[in-house]
């Protein structure tokens, strides 16, 4: 028996894209898009492994290959020693999967009926199922509205039904695709709490997210993925330590444009610049990575002031996983 819950080796997924030229003519040459590009990683039993990456990085595609919904173009995914392509039904018995989208359960059934249905699909019926379902409904705070149809639930409740559904067969391994996307802040906190509890029960969890706080807070180890490739993999702490020579300066500015950006890029020690406009505060937030020292801060400030810009705020931040991502790719996770 291996000590790995999930072992992925050189996993790759290509999608064919058919391009149409005009109405009838079909382009004979099919284009191939590489969504997941030869990735390898292992998830140890009992850990939470986070997949962090921007939109379109290939997180969902990877998860779907592991949970047998997609056939890899090449490479292997092995769950508890069982190959996902060769013995999918056995793999499905030890996996609990929650995909994104609140539509993964039946809206016309009640929360309880959904759980009864998916319990039966996993061979669990009768008294045993009832006990299990009651337990999960109470635990996920769904019991009071368990007999209303799901269409009347909030997004957070739907997400909790989906999670309960994934846990109904007591899977050793839980796979969660962006579990908190679309949830309000309170539901998000609650759900993260639940995920940590589920880990405490000894389950292995593989989750994807594009929220760096989430990856940081929940994961024992993280793989950062971009354009289908894993570009870094370590504990959150080690990933951030890798940046201890980098100073992170955040400026809140009245104006920001590409010519200012060009000028600042020219300053020694400045490595990466990312910016975003804060709609609510009506100001620019510009993040600047300076590597190997702060000696250029003077230059930086002088440069900005010389453009008649107004500095509203200035602060130095501790590195986050977002900064790890920026320093690896030059762009921000949100872009």
């Amino acid at each position: 028996m291996t000590s790995y819950a999930i072992e992925v080796k050189n996993l790759r997924k290509e999608f064919e894209i058919k391009k149409r030229n005009g109405f009838f003519k079909r382009n004979k040459k099919k284009e191939v898009f590489i969504a997941v590009d030869d990735i390898s990683f292992q998830v140890k039993k009992g850990e939470i492994f986070g997949f962090l990456g921007p939109n379109g990085a290939g997180k969902t595609t990877t998860i779907k290959m592991i949970s047998t919904l997609l056939r890899p173009t090449s490479g292997t995914a092995i769950i508890n020693g069982i190959n996902c392509v060769e013995r999918p039904m056995e793999v499905l018995k030890i996996l609990g999967t929650v995909l994104t989208g609140e539509r993964s359960i039946y809206w016309k059934l009640t929360g309880r009926e959904n759980l009864e249905y998916f319990a039966a699909m996993n061979g669990i019926t009768g008294r045993k199922a009832q006990v299990k379902i009651d337990y999960l409904l109470t635990r996920f705070n769904l019991d009071k509205r368990a007999d209303e149809t799901v269409e009347k639930y909030s997004t957070g409740m739907k997400q909790r039904v989906a999670l309960a559904k994934a846990l109904i067969a007591d899977p050793e391994i839980l796979i969660l695709d962006e579990p908190t996307s679309g949830l309000d802040p309170q539901s998000t906190l609650n759900l993260r709490e639940l995920i940590l509890e589920i880990k405490e029960e000894g389950r292995t969890i593989l989750l994807t997210t594009h929220y760096m706080e989430e990856a940081d807070q929940l994961s024992d180890r993280i793989a950062i993925i971009d354009h289908g490739k894993i570009i870094a993999m370590d504990t959150p702490c080690n990933l951030k330590k890798g940046l201890n020579k980098t100073n992170i300066i955040v400026l809140e500015l009245k104006d920001w444009n590409s010519s200012t950006e060009e000028r600042i890029k020219g300053i020694p020690m400045v490595e990466n610049i990312t910016s975003r406009f804060d709609d609510i505060a009506q100001r620019w937030e510009v993040k600047i990575h300076m590597v190997n020292g702060n000696d250029s801060i003077n230059d930086l400030i002088t440069n900005i002031i010389s453009t008649n810009n107004k500095i509203i705020n200035f602060r130095v931040e501790e590195p986050t996983l977002e900064d790890v991502f920026i320093s690896l790719t030059g762009k921000s996770l949100r872009e």
């Binding site: 056995e90 016309k108 039966a120 699909m121």
Partner: protein
């Protein structure tokens, strides 16, 4: 052990489908009203051609003067045929639209078992509908059948199973390669034209008859009318029954192959979540 799990799953699917069906009451009502709306004008048309209450011209082709009974049987059998074509194909499509298809594929129950589960509920509903329609028509217009209902059901069964096999395969194929509606519609129309749903096929133009004879469903309509109405059959009834059994075996086999192919295609393309 595996078989036990499959049976549990099938039962759960039937229960789930039933609950959802009855949460859309308009569905149920419409299903019953529709065939009656369709039958009524045809009935009055045939009345118009009757001489002394008997449809002489019709009886020369079919061997019975009771066009109404002929028609009701045709429309009942055809309601099964279209239930298969539409219901089955759209059961996958519907799961895609609702968004639950992946949740179902994530359970350790193979797709073919899931589809059997879904076809059973639709079969039950079609049967209930057919019986209701037959009963209402009998109340409104009255008709006689010669008996042998059990025999008719035994004859119909292999044909239905064959159709379910094929229907699943073909309809899901059509759906997944896009553009379902027209193809199913046309197939359905041609099937009912060519197999003699509402008339004896001997009235068809000569060139079309070979096509009609090549369709197993033709023998289904024909044999059932032979049994229930004592009509002249194209071939001896046992031969027609044999054809239907053969059709069943081929239908299951071909349907299963297509389904496997569709499943693999979907897992390669990753298109089930995109609809």
């Amino acid at each position: 052990m595996e078989l036990r799990n499959y049976l549990i799953a099938i039962k759960a699917i039937i229960k789930k489908d039933a609950k959802i069906f009855f949460r859309y009451p308009a569905n149920a009502v419409f299903r019953i009203v529709e065939p009656i709306l369709w039958i009524t004008p045809v009935y009055f048309l045939s009345k118009a051609f009757q001489i002394n209450g008997e449809n002489i011209g019709f009886s020369q082709y079919s061997g019975t003067t009771d066009y109404m009974a002929f028609l009701v049987i045709g429309s009942i059998v055809s309601s099964f045929v279209s239930a298969v074509m539409w219901g089955m194909g759209f059961s996958l499509k519907n799961e895609m639209d609702v968004g639950v298809i992946e949740s179902n594929w994530l359970t350790p129950i193979p797709l073919w078992v899931q589809l059997i589960g879904r076809s059973i509920f639709s079969l039950i509903m079609t049967t209930v509908n057919a019986l209701t329609v037959a009963f209402l028509v009998w109340l409104m217009f009255g008709f006689n059948i010669a008996g042998g209902i059990l025999m008719a059901i035994v004859t119909l069964l292999p044909m239905l199973i064959a159709l379910y096999g094929l229907g699943f395969g073909i309809a899901s194929l059509v759906l997944i390669t896009n553009n379902a509606n027209n193809i199913i519609d046309i197939t359905n129309f041609c099937l009912s034209m060519m197999s003699g749903e509402s008339f004896p096929i001997t009235v068809l133009p000569r060139v079309l008859i070979p096509i009609s004879l090549a369709l197993p469903i033709t023998y289904g309509y024909d044999a059932i009318r032979g049994i229930l109405l004592n009509t002249k059959t194209l071939l001896p009834i046992p031969v027609e029954q044999g054809i239907l059994v053969l059709f069943m075996i081929i239908g299951i086999f071909v349907g299963y192959r297509i389904l496997k192919w569709v499943e693999k295609y979907c897992r390669t393309k990753g298109n089930i979540a995109f609809h």
